[in-house]
């Protein structure tokens, strides 16, 4: 079954609104990582978070390992934030990443 599930599948916001993206994983993860991808673009690493809360700029990642869930909060969204956000987990002992299907974010003016 799907090891990493993301929700919502898509999200449409007005510029300036906040976004909350969810990630649930089905087995013990060492850490969660969040990536961003523009259509036709490469994957860009945003945050890597084993547990707790991490901030960078307008992004906040929260991981609750015991509950097998994580979230990415984007504050004051901008049009340039539009794209697909992917959550990935790695498991202890293996560096390979298991990806979710992504949340497609569209921010309009």
């Amino acid at each position: 079954g799907q090891q990493v599930q993301q929700s919502p599948a898509s999200l449409v916001l007005q510029e300036g609104e906040n976004a909350e993206l969810q990630c649930n994983f089905s087995s013990t993860a060492t850490r969660l990582q969040w990536f961003y991808q523009r259509p036709g673009g490469s994957l860009v690493s945003l945050l890597s978070n084993p547990s707790g809360t991490k901030h960078t700029g307008r992004l906040t990642s929260t991981t609750v390992t015991k509950e097998r869930r994580g979230s990415l909060h984007i504050s004051s969204s901008q049009i340039t934030d539009s794209g697909t956000y992917l959550c990935a987990m790695d498991q202890g002992g293996s560096a390979k990443l298991i990806f979710g299907e992504g949340t497609k974010l569209t921010v309009s003016s």
Partner: protein, 111 residues
């Protein structure tokens, strides 16, 4: 730092032909990964190397896919007898224990 470099960016092959994809990881990175991305399946792990040694190839279709890392500056993914279902974007990534850096990918189209 040019990042992870993948060549070619686009490749079109006829069904049954062989395709070889190249990856140059970031200098000094000890781990190199190969992933495949399609609209239907999303991002799928294929294989990875650490210090040039193959560590985990659990995602590789065994019969026609093979990957090598002959030296620390490049890795290749070879697909023999390509099939239309092999059409995808193949992504290479490298890492030095922390963040993972992806290349721009090779879009393989099998016609």
């Amino acid at each position: 730092n040019a990042g992870v470099i993948q060549t070619p960016r686009h490749k079109v092959t006829g069904k049954g032909q062989e395709a070889t994809l190249w990856c140059e990881p970031i200098s000094g990175h000890s781990a190199v990964f190969w992933y495949r991305q399609t609209i239907v399946q999303g991002l799928e792990f294929l294989t990875y190397f650490r210090n040039q040694a193959p560590i985990d190839d659990s995602g590789m279709p065994k019969e026609r896919f093979s990957a090598q890392m002959p030296n620390q500056s490049h890795s290749t993914l070879k697909i023999q007898s390509t099939q239309p279902q092999d059409s995808a974007v193949y992504l290479c990534a490298s890492s030095l224990g922390g963040g993972v850096f992806f290349g721009k990918g090779t879009r393989l189209t099998v016609v």
